[in-house]
Amino acid sequence: MRPTEPQPTEPQGRVILPIASRSETVKTLAGIVRPHRLRGAVMLSVLLGRATLGLAGPLLLGSIVDLVVEGNPVNDMLRPFILLLVVAAGEGILAGLGTALIARFGEPVLATLRERVLDRALGVPLSDIERAGTGDLVSRVGDDVSAVSEAIRFALPALMGAALSICLTIVGLGVLDWRLALAGLCAAPIQLYTLRWFLPRSAPLYARERLIKGERAQQLFDSIDGASTVRAFRLSEPHTSMVRTRSRAVFDLVLQTVKLQSRFFGRLNLAEFVGLTAILIVGFMLVGDGVITIGAVTAAALYFQRLFDPINILLYLIDEAQSAGAALARLVGVANLPGPPVSAPQDEGPAITSGLSIRIQGLGFAYQVGPPVLHNIDLEIAPGERVALVGVSGAGKTTLAKLIAGIHEPSGGEIRIGEAGMAELGSDGIRRLVCLVTQEIHVFSGSLSEDLRLAKPDASDGELERALELVGAVNWAAAMPDGIATVVGEGGFRLTPTQVQQVALARLALRDPPVAILDEATAEAGSSGARMLEAAASRILKGRTSLVVAHRLTQAASADRVVVMEEGRIVEVGTHAGLVKAGGAYSALWKAWSFSRS
């Protein structure tokens, strides 16, 4: 990790993802913008040109007024009229060009940023994710990216346009007469004061509004998605009233926000009045003294009225820009993490598919906080051997599996895969050799074939089908509306937990690693599903060195060897038959399990 900000830590030592400092954000962003800087410069000059040209309109309208006042011939008006048409055309062209250039500058920058964020998010070590969960990361690649995109697409152009026209209008007023510019600036103190009054009040209110709307959405999801459970336990009324409470809270807060906003705009109206009045009074005096013409006052009044909208937009958007800034800092925090491996594991070196042993000596492990979880583990797994890991929940099975998969580093002892120790292999090397399938149920949205190709991007349709065949999924896969091209996952065709785990095993088959670890990969399916998955797992694990964390003893019975763990130690090792005969801990487990199976 780069030496940046100190890692923010939550109580209980939970590491959360870094948030970039302001200077780091600016530096990173500058790095992303640099390749596009020429385009950025062109964009800025076009926007500037448009705003400058925009000043000509009111001046020409003012000159028409002057022509009328001076009683010039009607045909003299043709000149300002034609000029007005030319200005309109020029302004139109520059406005269109500006819009296109903003997109051509902003969108690629945005794409680079979001792609880098996702790349880095994929590179976060699994041990960190185990500790912090994926929630924060998901909200960064989702909500924060959306917030920054919205800002870059809508708020930023509006802000730039508004700022430019405000500055140039003041210049325009100054060109008419410097005293008119000063009169216009009378509005500024009121606007600044209003802003300083508004921002500290609106920011917490907006943050709270987001929070409370999130809570309402969460409650709706919680209650509606769990509707069958709500009905089964007669919870309809309490759940409806929880929704009512949270929805009412949104109602109250939104009205509070609206009240604040309407007061904000009320004060801005006052600033508009003061500015316009000042211009008219100054105009009155200057015209009276014969310093400027009626047309100039007209132009000044038109200038100032044209500013109402841009100023309101500018002041209103400052708020949004601030929250987009916060989202950006969270994105840059992720974007500056170390990246994932440069190449896919399967691209490196010759494929080793068998002949690897696992040797574990004196292995110990403790999480950062808490007592040791594993004590002095010695275990050797022969090439191609399948070992089942058995024990009650909390015995340390999953921890041992994670250590072998290289997710955590041992606090003592060592693990060797083949001839190499874990440190020599490095995280890339371990991932090349070892695959881990857990009980986590997730199918990636998109077609089933796209999901499977995550494991092997260049797999042919035939290979995909063979993998599905191996896990016993080929029939239902073919029976889906579009076969393996059917969209599955969120919003798509719904798969049962058993089917999802079949897909997980099919991915493992496609990935084809020499060492495979299954951590209760069959646990989420019902008992009949579990049997099907166990059969599939057996077929896939054939010939691989494998460790299976078993919650059903049938998995242990079919393994080459069984390892029994209790309280972080190995208490028994042997074949199924041998251990049953030995009459120890495993034998007792087996009796309880198979009580009447035979």
């Binding site: 769990g226 309809s236 009225q305 995550l454």
Partner: protein, 550 residues
């Protein structure tokens, strides 16, 4: 229901609309009064008139400012009140005991109807008030323009609409492109959150590079769409600026000629230019508020569909006689299912076809009505009882039972008549050790849908909750499928002890649970095909043995 919700907010919304119109009138007043100041006071250098007109300007500003301030509050109040009311109505309907909307594939749609459609229906008031204000502004401004000069007014009023309609024609494909852009962006964002949601799996497989490639493709696709849309956007923006500018030039030219001929005053010329500039806003808003209304109507249809969805089951109003003994009888249900469970019996049910299991569970849970045959509890027919009365007596805990946001102990005790016996329930469900190991024990918060717990932990928590209901009839479906063998054996023994004296049905193929049942029923082809103790059936029924043994 929808109409009633609107009617309740009618006055508020009407008041808001009137204030919006008054705000627009004020907006029109500003350029007019500014023009009058120039015309009457500055041209003539009359201080008294200057002061008078500036006072008028102050009055106009005060009107428009306060109109907006209170109009906005009223309109937002109507919007949010309606949204709130609809959210509650929708939730009430969706969670109604008689069901009718619970197809699991619909969940996402129902959530989005309740959360986003309700808000869009509420915003009908905003769209309507905005439309009314735009229309009002249009009428006032037209009247003023026609009053200044019939010819100039007609020129503007006849010339403006076709120009704006033409611009709208350019906008329409733009809107379509914009929606496509939003869809693409949403798709790319969906790919990102989905990949990160499955990050543990990707890591386990070493598939990060493939995942990164997939996202890059989605992101580039979104980029291409955005750039395509921006080209159209640029054309529209350019045309908009150019046409508006040309229009202003035309009005100034025509007005200037009229003023030079003395047919209108300087002030009227300035006002006409200012009003033309102003009019473009309301005309555009009128068009867009039409589109907003159309969108709100589509949402209103979806809301109405949910609110008026037919119920899945019919109910009577009888209560069961207390105390419920728990004698359950099925007589030729769906033609062929007959069975009898004695009060206090502990019965295992093995369905050779899972469809039979689900049918039985749905009937007992009253997710569907019993249309053929008779189901009785203590001799009372199911259809004659109220659904809530029935569910007070018969609790069916589904296999994929959901947990809710809240404390762990609250989840277990959500339907418990004897919360003080929490420890017993946890022990019987094999969840005592797990609860003790949670960071704050039984007070540990569980996040939405129980996501903070593992699958096995969720299942044991749900089992403890079912046991805590102490229902006279408890129906469990595969309650231990994600539990390790040793714990399952312990659960089986404790479960039967805790439920002794109360009727219990367990639909499962787990031998550990079936072994402790008083009796096991075998379901196949919609009827009971075997019956006996677990050990007897293992010997006598080969299909049973195959279904139960691995």
């Amino acid at each position: 229901m929808l109409r009633a919700a609107f009617r309740r907010q009618r006055r508020t919304a009407l008041g808001g609309s009137l204030l919006f119109i008054s705000h627009q009138a004020g907006e029109i007043g500003v350029p007019i009064v500014a023009a009058l100041v120039i015309d009457k006071a500055i041209v003539t250098s009359d201080v008294r008139l200057l002061v008078l007109h500036l006072l008028a300007l102050a009055a106009v500003f005060a009107t428009l400012s306060y109109s907006w301030r209170f109009g906005d509050r009223l309109v937002e109040r109507a919007t949010e009140a309606t949204t709130h009311e609809l959210v509650v109505d929708l939730t009430t309907r969706i969670l109604h005991p008689a069901g009718g909307l619970s197809g699991s594939s619909l969940t996402g749609e129902l959530v989005s109807t309740a959360s986003s459609d309700a808000g869009k229906v509420g915003s009908i008031f905003g769209a309507a008030a905005g439309g009314a204000a735009a229309l009002g502004a249009l009428i006032v401004a037209s009247a003023v323009l026609l009053n200044i000069s019939l010819a100039l007014g007609l020129l503007i009023l006849i010339g403006l609409p076709p120009v704006l309609v033409g611009l709208q024609q350019v906008v329409r494909p733009l809107e379509r492109r914009f929606r496509a852009q939003q869809d693409q962006a949403a798709a790319a964002s969906g790919v990102a959150t989905d990949l990160i949601g499955g990050l543990r799996i990707l890591k386990g497989l070493g598939a990060e590079v493939a995942a990164g490639d997939r996202y890059r493709a989605a992101s580039q696709n979104s980029l291409a769409t955005s750039l395509g849309a921006s080209r159209l956007d640029a054309v529209h923006e350019g045309l908009n600026v150019a046409v508006t500018g040309a229009l202003l030039a035309g009005v100034a030219f025509a007005g200037g000629r009229l003023a030079a001929q003395g047919r209108i005053s300087i002030g009227e010329l300035i006002a006409a230019v200012g009003l033309t500039q102003f009019l473009i806003g309301p005309l555009f808003r009128l068009g867009s508020s039409g589109a907003d209304l159309a969108r709100s109507r589509a949402s209103a249809r979806r809301v109405a569909d949910v609110l008026s969805a037919p119920f899945a089951v019919t109910q009577g109003c009888d209560a069961l006689t207390e105390p419920v003994r728990g004698e359950l009888v099925f007589d030729d249900v769906s033609g062929s299912l007959s069975l009898k469970v004695a009060a206090g019996e502990f019965v295992g049910v093995v369905a050779l076809d899972p469809a039979d299991a689900y049918r039985l569970l749905d009937l007992l849970a009253r997710n569907t009505s019993c249309s053929e045959g008779r189901i009785t509890l203590d001799g009372v027919e199911v259809g004659s009882t109220g659904i809530e009365n029935w569910r007070a007596a018969v609790v069916v805990s589904p296999h994929d039972a959901d947990l809710f946001e809240g404390k762990f102990s609250d989840n277990v005790l959500v339907a418990a008549p004897h919360p003080e016996r929490l420890a017993e329930y946890l022990a019987a469900a094999g969840a005592d050790g797990m609860a003790a190991a949670l960071p704050d024990g039984i007070d540990t918060p569980v996040t939405e849908r129980g996501r903070s717990l593992s699958g096995g932990q969720r299942q044991r928590t749900a089992l403890a909750r079912a046991l805590a209901s102490e229902a006279p009839v408890l129906v469990l479906h595969d309650p231990t499928s994600a539990v390790d063998a040793a714990t399952e054996a312990r659960i089986a023994v404790n479960l039967s002890a805790l439920r002794s004296g109360m009727t219990t049905l367990i639909v499962t193929t787990s031998p550990a649970l079936l072994a402790v049942a008083d009796r096991v029923l075998v379901l196949a082809g919609g009827s009971v095909t075997g019956e006996g103790t677990h050990s007897r059936l293992l010997v006598s029924d080969p299909a049973y043995a195959e279904a139960v043994l691995a």
